[in-house]
């Protein structure tokens, strides 16, 4: 794992919380005085459609916002998986939503890990925290930021009026981490 820079692409459909995952990583990087750049790409529809964002986190100044291959791709739905699976660096990670993507094609030379984020979120009692489940999984796989750092960002982002959602989101992050710890050794 090259800790000098990390390039992450997160993709799904509008409404899955794709942007938030990427932004949280960028906020965490800013807190730690690292260089970071986040940018979104999406179609004009407000719901449905495809949405993806890219985050670069680096110790040096970041040049190109766009990159050909990511260190990690997080895919939340099948069309995103199909589109971005070929864009993972050799030796990189393809982290995907197992609740919506079953038996996907597995590219060679990269770690492919599925997490049933929708099922886990429903079990936790709030389907909308699925994106935080995969955030937890990502943190456990890469240790890019501590859980505390991400939770600090989460609290700042949820802000006034949404404090009641903090706990369920933290639970989701923990559940994602647990899933990785439990299934370690089973991933390819």
């Amino acid at each position: 794992m090259n800790m000098n820079s990390q390039k992450v692409t997160i993709a799904g459909f509008g409404g899955q919380g794709v942007m938030m995952i990427g932004q949280m990583l960028a906020y965490a990087a800013t807190e730690e005085n690292m260089h970071t750049l986040w940018f979104p790409s999406y179609g004009p529809e407000t719901r449905g459609g495809t949405a993806n964002c890219s985050v670069t986190i680096s110790k040096k100044e970041i040049n190109s916002p766009v990159f050909a291959k990511a260190d990690t791709v997080i895919a939340l739905n099948l069309p995103s998986y199909m589109k971005f699976a070929p864009k993972v660096q050799q030796g990189g990670i393809l982290l995907y939503n197992e609740s919506l993507i079953t038996n996907p094609i597995q590219p060679e030379g990269i770690r492919v890990i599925g997490v049933p984020i929708n099922d886990i979120a429903i079990k936790l009692g709030n389907p909308k925290v699925a994106n935080m489940v995969i955030m937890g999984a990502y943190l456990e796989l890469t240790h890019l930021f501590s859980e505390e750092a991400i939770v600090k960002v989460l609290k700042k982002l949820l802000g006034k009026g949404k404090e009641h959602l903090i706990d369920i989101n933290i639970e989701a992050i923990k559940a994602g981490r647990e899933h990785i710890l439990k299934t370690r050794g089973q991933s390819c």
Binding site: P44, E45, T46, R47, G49
Partner: protein
């Protein structure tokens, strides 16, 4: 033996609509398609798509379509109808497109008595661009550019579009309808039929204003949105016929 009791109108293509769940654009599209089919004019209609959530309406209506710049649909429709007077020409516009940037083009098309039918989907907000304030946004309604709620002092009062157009002499038929329950959908369809019929009879400019919902940008569920449309929007924008030149004598 199986009997078909309902099927998709030929006035719409098979392309899947891309509107948000609970949006009333789908209903309006269906009504237009059904009217064009019932009046037997699908194959001689030309529609003008505007800029807003319905920017891709040219994928959905099963007739020739032109896409217009934001606010210019009525000017584009004028160009088309004057050139092809035997075609049935309609525009499909939102409250931002027609009420804001396009108000001059719309008023002048009406003033000249252009034989076009204007379909106005009024959901009191700019939907596609993410929920900014529109001319028809209600007092107190929170939008991304009226975050403390629309205020009369800062933003003026919501624009009553049907009432404005009713005052134009060559506006032949202007009615405001709603879609919040099946009875009103049926009434809306009748109004739309009358508008298109007047166009076919060369009576002049016709406009139907549909009280529409935007659940996503209103921050409501589809059901809450229908309720709000019924209780809040209709209170300020009363339903009814505002102009009917069929009542007048030449």
């Amino acid at each position: 033996m199986n009997q078909i009791v309902y099927k998709k109108t030929k006035g719409l293509t098979d392309t899947e609509l891309s509107y948000c769940p609970g949006c009333t654009h789908g209903i309006i599209h269906k009504l237009i398609g059904e009217i064009l089919e019932e009046l037997n004019v699908i194959d001689r209609s030309i529609g003008v798509a505007s800029v807003g959530c319905s920017v891709f309406s040219y994928y959905y209506f099963n007739c020739d379509m032109q896409q217009a710049a934001h606010g210019r649909s009525c000017a584009v429709a004028t160009g088309i109808k004057r050139s092809r007077p035997d075609s049935i020409v309609f525009t499909y516009q939102g409250d931002g497109d027609l009420g804001s940037i396009g108000i001059a083009e719309a008023i002048h098309a009406a003033n000249r008595g252009e034989n076009i039918t204007v379909i106005l989907a009024n959901n009191a907000i700019y939907g596609m661009t993410g929920g900014q304030m529109a001319p028809t946004t209600l007092i107190g309604q929170k939008t991304t550019t009226s975050q403390a709620g629309r205020s009369e002092a800062l933003h003026g009062l919501p624009m009553k579009i049907s009432e404005i157009f009713a005052q134009i002499p060559k506006a032949a038929y202007v009615e405001r309808v709603s879609l919040h329950n099946p009875q009103h959908v049926l009434k809306a369809k009748k109004a739309l039929k009358k508008a298109f019929t007047y166009q076919m009879e060369k009576k002049g400019f016709t406009m139907i204003e549909f009280i529409s919902t935007c659940p996503v940008n209103w921050g409501m569920t589809p059901n809450e949105a229908l309720k709000w449309a019924k209780e809040s929007m209709i209170e300020y924008f009363p339903l009814g016929v505002y102009k009917d030149s069929g009542d007048e004598h030449e």
